[in-house]
Structures are given as structure tokens and as C-alpha cells.
């Protein structure tokens, strides 16, 4: 593993220890009260979910055009993180909505497109695991759909009627809400980088193992 990895992992651990203190000290939102504090994990995980889908899509495009296996490994690793952070987003969101909206789920554009993006990533992983030869190119094509869905997820709340808060909420946040949010967002981003590097390392080891098996057969 690279030298920076250990230091970044320690820093990430410290940030995860400090984040709950900042979140606990943040004020209660006037209409939602305590349950609004889910926001500090829901939104950063949603951002990382969308970022992972972009990384997966960009790496897939580069793999399709250049045939570089490193890009394929990066795409596969990022797809797994799409599933992980997407799951966190899709579980924490309904837990917040149950209290704030009075319902677990709404089939509005933001929620439905997020679910679609997550399902595309699940389909990608299933395809890579059970698809056999050629599944790398097919998976790369699928990842493009996942990436194309990202801007749609982001802008959906501004163009369609929905009860989900609009994107204008974050830029107008007072610092008492903003500081814990951005701290949490940086923590999640750092975790994403670390997990991505760890997962790429796993792919590299798998590739080395495959090369060894091939050399034994030769």
C-alpha cells in the first residue's frame, strides 16, 4: 500500500471520532427537530454515492477506449462503493422521511432515480461476477448508464414536483448546520478514497493471482 495510506486512515478514524461531537452540538432544525440530524450522514453518503458512480463511469469510458486493465479495476472497485454508499443513502433517507414526511418512501423523481442508479451498480457487480468472458466490456457499457443517471438525480429536485428538499438548501445553510455537514462530507470523502484504494489493491492482487495461475498452466 502507498505511504500516505496509513496516515490518511488514522486521520479518517480521528475525523469519524470527532464528527459525532460536532453533529451532537449542531442546533435542532425548527420543524424536524432531532431526526434532522440524520442529514449529516445521509447527504455526505449521497454525495459519495454519486461521486462513486462518476468514477466508475469515467474509468469505464477510459477502459472502453484505451483497453487499460487498470481502469477496469478502478471501475469495478468504484461500482462496489456505489452499492455501499447507495445503500447507506437509501436506508438513512427513509428513516428520516418516516418522521419528517410521515412516510418511508415516495416514488418521486429523486428517490426513484437514486434507486435506479443503485440497481445499475448492483447489476454491474452481478454481471462482473457471473457474466463470464466479455463481461468487462458489457459492464463498462452498463456503468455509462449509471454515470448518465447522476446529473438527473442531482437536478431532479429542482425540476419536478417533489417533497424532497431542493439543492438550494445546502448553499443557504447557516454555519451552525454547515460546519458539521462539511466536516462529515470531508470525512466521507476521505473514507471513499481509502476504501477505493483498498478495493483497487484487491483487484490488483486478483490480477497478480490470475497471472500466476496462467504462468503455471503455460
Amino acid at each position: 500500500m502507498p505511504k500516505w495510506f496509513t496516515g490518511a486512515a488514522v486521520l479518517c478514524g480521528l475525523m469519524f471520532a470527532v464528527a459525532p461531537v460536532l453533529i451532537a452540538n449542531a442546533p435542532y432544525e425548527s420543524t424536524m427537530g432531532l431526526v434532522q440530524k440524520i442529514f449529516y450522514v445521509h447527504l455526505p453518503s449521497a454525495w459519495v454515492f454519486l461521486l462513486s458512480a462518476i468514477v466508475c463511469g469515467v474509468a469505464s469510458v477510459r477502459f472502453l477506449f484505451r483497453g487499460d486493465p487498470r481502469q477496469d479495476r478502478l471501475a469495478w472497485a468504484a461500482a462496489e462503493l456505489v452499492v455501499l454508499f447507495g445503500l447507506v443513502t437509501l436506508v438513512t433517507g427513509p428513516l428520516w422521511a418516516r418522521k419528517a414526511w410521515g412516510t418511508w418512501w415516495q416514488w418521486d423523481v429523486r428517490l426513484t432515480s437514486s434507486l435506479m442508479g443503485w440497481m445499475v451498480a448492483v447489476a454491474y457487480l452481478l454481471l462482473r461476477k457471473y457474466g463470464g468472458p466479455g463481461s468487462d466490456k458489457l459492464g463498462a457499457g452498463l456503468a455509462l448508464f449509471g454515470m448518465a443517471n447522476v446529473p438527473f438525480v442531482y437536478i431532479s429536485v429542482n425540476y419536478w414536483r417533489t417533497i424532497h428538499p431542493a439543492t438550494s438548501v445546502v448553499p443557504t445553510l447557516p454555519s451552525s448546520f454547515g460546519v458539521p455537514l462539511w466536516f462529515s462530507a470531508v470525512t466521507f470523502l476521505l473514507l471513499f478514497v481509502l476504501l477505493l484504494r483498498l478495493r483497487v489493491r484487491l483487484q490488483e492482487q486478483h490480477a497478480a493471482l490470475d497471472a500466476l495461475y496462467l504462468s503455471m498452466d503455460a
Partner: protein, 115 residues
């Protein structure tokens, strides 16, 4: 007459759309543009706010209002921690298994003299 109509229109605009429509119909039916008549129609439609005379126990609220926030918050944060930890353990175990397999193969190749 014109001034009266202006006063009535002002009252109706202030009253809001639903009340305005109903009051317009009633005023047109009565053929009256008397502001006092329109105001009386509007005031008859709007229920007076009821004064709270007693505290309502939380059990009598609709289910969504009774819901406590703390279990949802705890569930959300617990899920985040467990999901991230489980993924980290999963990647570490897979990495360990592949590393172990690599070492085994490399030593096997060395023993057989192919490397």
C-alpha cells in the same frame, strides 16, 4: 358605486381564492356589491380558531405525529457504522485470502523450480 366595487374587490383579494370564489357566487346571486354583505359572507365561511381548552395526550395524535425521533436516529447511525465496518471487514478478509493464495502459489512455484 365604483368605490363600493373597489372595496369589495379588495376584501375578496385579501380573503384568498377559495373564499373569494364562494363569496363572488353568493354576492352575484344576491346582486349585491355591498361591502358589508360580502364581509358577512366571508366571515360566515371562515371557522373561528378554536381556543385550546385542554392538553391532548400524545396517544390521541395521528400515528405519524406520535413517532419518536430517537429510535430512527439511532437506527440510521447504527446502520451507517455497521455497514461501513462490515464492508471494511469484508475487503480485509478478501485481501487476506488473496494474499495468502498468492504466497502459497509463489512458494509452490519456487519449490518446483519454475520461478
Amino acid at each position: 358605486m365604483m368605490l363600493r366595487r373597489l372595496v369589495v374587490v379588495f376584501v375578496l383579494v385579501v380573503a384568498g381564492s377559495a373564499s373569494r370564489d364562494a363569496a363572488c357566487v353568493r354576492a352575484a346571486e344576491a346582486g349585491s356589491w355591498d361591502p358589508a354583505y360580502v364581509v358577512s359572507v366571508l366571515s360566515a365561511q371562515q371557522p373561528a380558531p378554536t381556543q385550546q381548552e385542554e392538553f391532548v395526550p400524545i396517544e390521541e395524535l395521528p400515528p405519524q405525529d406520535q413517532l419518536p425521533a430517537a429510535p430512527l436516529l439511532v437506527a440510521a447511525y447504527s446502520f451507517v457504522v455497521l455497514a461501513l465496518f462490515a464492508y471494511l471487514v469484508s475487503v480485509a478478509r478478501r485481501l487476506g485470502a488473496v494474499q495468502h493464495e498468492l504466497e502459497r502459489l509463489e512458494s509452490e512455484l519456487k519449490r518446483s523450480g519454475r520461478r
